[in-house]
């Protein structure tokens, strides 16, 4: 079997490796060294980088459910919210419920609380996934939209847990006595979590359950014929997806350190996650990563641009700021027209070109 020009595999295990060449491994290493050094050298945009890590987790979670399994969810933003509140609850009031050994193994309540928050979100996700047995496409979208509004209502009115309208403060996380109370520290924590989640999702997508998810999306009748239990696998897709969204929520709460229900976890957030996976490429884990980065970085770039132009032509600064939303929408639209298969697809094309270099044909 052949991959790159002149590269042959001698075993299936070799072919199934995530990073097949030293070249790929080298650039990955460079990327991570760069990311790790960034907060040490610069101190602007670190919070934004934290939020990008969190957006990556949430977008990957939605891509498992919607991109791979074909079950549209308009409630992912609310699932992130559930994870945020549940995570905070388990750190504080719920900590007493956790078994003693967890504190010892994980160095305090933070990690168990994030995991339990994810599990609670998974249960909530499975519950709202039940209609997917009967509903497809746009009808399922409406059902998950209902989930979004129901959960937002709960966030607002379950005051003892969520603090209602006025919100609540969140303590800084602590693991083995080390406090993550600054943005750079949170950056490393969220980066580690994002890497872990991307790794888990990639494994999922290249093995049995991931293939079953895609088979349901592509042709659910044949999926059943090859032996996929449709209901069970749809529920699993909802569970995994909501779990990851919940972890993203827990990290969000501990990065922002203050939680208000609306509009933080509103429908706007759900839709921006959808935009991320559509821009990045439906069904591809890396696509979700690219999409999350693109959608998060674009407004920052537009701000910078506005500032830059405003520096030269002060009278233009206000109109540019005002049209920012429109420009954002326009860029997305152009993107969908010219790159309908997403960033991941473009990346594959570029790689395919260089694979055969210099023998391009």
């Amino acid at each position: 079997m052949q991959n790159k020009c002149g590269q042959f595999f001698t075993s299936y295990r070799q072919e199934n490796r995530l990073f097949k060449t030293w070249f790929e491994r080298f650039w990955l290493l460079v990327l991570f060294v760069g990311l790790i050094l960034y907060p040490l050298c610069f101190d602007s945009y670190v919070l934004q980088l934290c939020m990008i890590n969190i957006a990556i987790i949430a977008a990957v979670s939605l891509n498992v459910l919607t991109g791979a399994c074909g079950q549209i969810s308009l409630g992912q933003g609310a699932f992130v919210g559930v994870g945020a509140y549940a995570g905070v609850w388990f750190v504080q009031s719920g900590a007493a419920m956790l078994p003693e050994w967890m504190f010892v193994v994980f160095g305090g309540p933070f990690i168990p609380a994030i995991l339990c928050g994810g599990l609670v979100t998974a249960l909530v996700g499975m519950f709202f996934g039940i209609p997917s047995l009967r509903l497809k496409g746009i009808y399922l979208a409406i059902a998950t939209l209902a989930a979004q509004f129901i959960l937002e209502y709960v966030f607002l009115h379950w005051k003892s847990v969520t603090g209602g309208h006025s919100g609540m403060a969140v303590p800084a996380p602590e693991i083995f006595g080390y406090t993550f109370d600054t943005y750079p520290r949170m950056f490393y924590l969220t980066l580690a979590c994002a890497v872990l989640m991307v790794y888990l999702a990639t494994n999922l997508m290249r093995s049995k359950p991931g293939r079953a998810f895609v088979s349901i999306r592509d042709h659910h009748l044949s999926a059943e014929i090859v032996g996929v239990n449709l209901f069970w696998y749809k529920l699993q897709a909802f569970a995994v997806s909501a779990f990851m969204a919940g972890v993203a929520g827990g990290l969000w709460a501990h990065t922002a350190r203050y939680l208000t229900p609306s509009p933080t976890f509103g429908i706007g957030l759900s839709i921006s996650y959808l935009a991320m996976i559509i821009i990045g490429g439906l069904g591809s884990v890396l696509g979700a990563v690219y999409g999350a980065i693109f959608i998060s970085v674009l407004p920052i770039c537009l701000d910078l641009l506005a500032e830059l132009v405003g520096g030269f032509f002060p009278e233009l600064a206000t109109p540019i700021k005002a049209t920012k939303g429109g420009v954002f929408g326009l860029v997305l639209m152009l993107f969908l027209i010219f790159e309908p298969e997403g960033l991941a697809h473009r990346w594959r094309l570029i790689k395919a070109y260089w694979k055969l270099y210099p023998f391009a044909h």
């Binding site: 199934n16 079953a212 044949s222 999926a223 059943e224 014929i225 090859v226 996929v228 995994v240």
Partner: protein, 260 residues
């Protein structure tokens, strides 16, 4: 005991009968062909066996055990697999992944193992990959291994679908018009594959096909359906001589059609 027993199956769609009191049996190792004019109910019969339609009356049993109450995916675990009249591949997946999904019911590991991709999950993936490669070699699909299934030529897609059904290592495979729309060469290849599946892989075959030449050549037994009921059952030569069959197929005019 027969591998598959179909007894008195009746299926109606809003009062219109698609199948009426259909009975036949398939012995282990046989190739049985189900033939009949368009709309005779052949696909409906396969759908009843594979679990997509639920007959109003009658029973379907594998090894004497009724499968009617089982869901489609459970029947697959019992050793049943099939192809469709209109190609029903997972269009967005590679050929390899299509065949790997074909082995879904054989893979015994869960969500957590898959996410960690250590130990059991990884061993199983390698093992199943090896089996799938056997199917790929057998059907000559290796040039297409990593290509997206939906973009392949029609004839290749038909072969991939056969491969997906075969990857499940079924005991009984249901083939719904595998030669439809193929040219002579492709038809001959497909007939060869079906014979090999039967002889080398030891799979029992239930074949639905309009190409009478192929049917008469490779079948051990033929069941003729017309307007939802069984017109004749027997060896190919017997069926070819049957007066009712000739009448149904040709309106009693041209007797050379069935005989080649």
């Amino acid at each position: 005991m027969s591998l598959l027993d179909v007894t008195g199956i009746t299926l109606t769609f809003r009062g219109l009968a698609a199948l009426m009191n259909v009975s036949f049996t398939i012995e282990e190792g046989e190739i049985l062909s189900l033939i009949g004019p368009n709309g005779a109910g052949k696909t409906s019969m396969l759908n009843c066996i594979s679990g997509r339609y639920h007959p109003d009356e009658g029973d379907i049993a594998i090894d004497g055990k009724s499968i009617l109450s089982m869901k489609a995916h459970r029947r697959t675990e019992m050793g049943l697999s099939r192809t469709f009249q209109n190609i029903a591949l997972f269009k967005g997946m590679s050929v390899l992944d299509n065949l790997m999904v074909g082995r879904h019911s054989q893979m015994k590991y869960g969500l957590l193992a898959s996410m960690l991709y250590w130990g059991k999950a990884r061993r199983h993936e390698d093992m199943h990959r090896r089996r799938v490669e056997d199917v790929i070699d057998f059907l000559g699909l290796s040039p297409y291994r990593h290509q997206v299934a939906g973009r392949l030529p029609y004839g290749v897609q038909k072969r991939v679908e056969l491969g997906r059904a075969l990857a499940a290592e079924p005991r009984l495979i249901l083939l719904d018009e595998p030669m439809a729309g193929m040219n002579l060469e492709e038809t001959e290849d497909m007939a060869r594959y079906i014979l090999d599946i039967n002889e080398e892989w030891g799979v029992t075959v239930l074949l639905v096909e309009h190409d009478m030449g192929v049917v008469m050549d490779i079948s051990d037994k033929v069941v003729v359906l017309d307007f939802g009921s069984v017109l004749a059952t027997g060896a190919p030569e017997e069926v070819q001589q049957d007066k009712d069959v000739i009448a149904a197929y040709l309106g009693g005019e041209d007797e050379t059609f069935l005989g080649r």
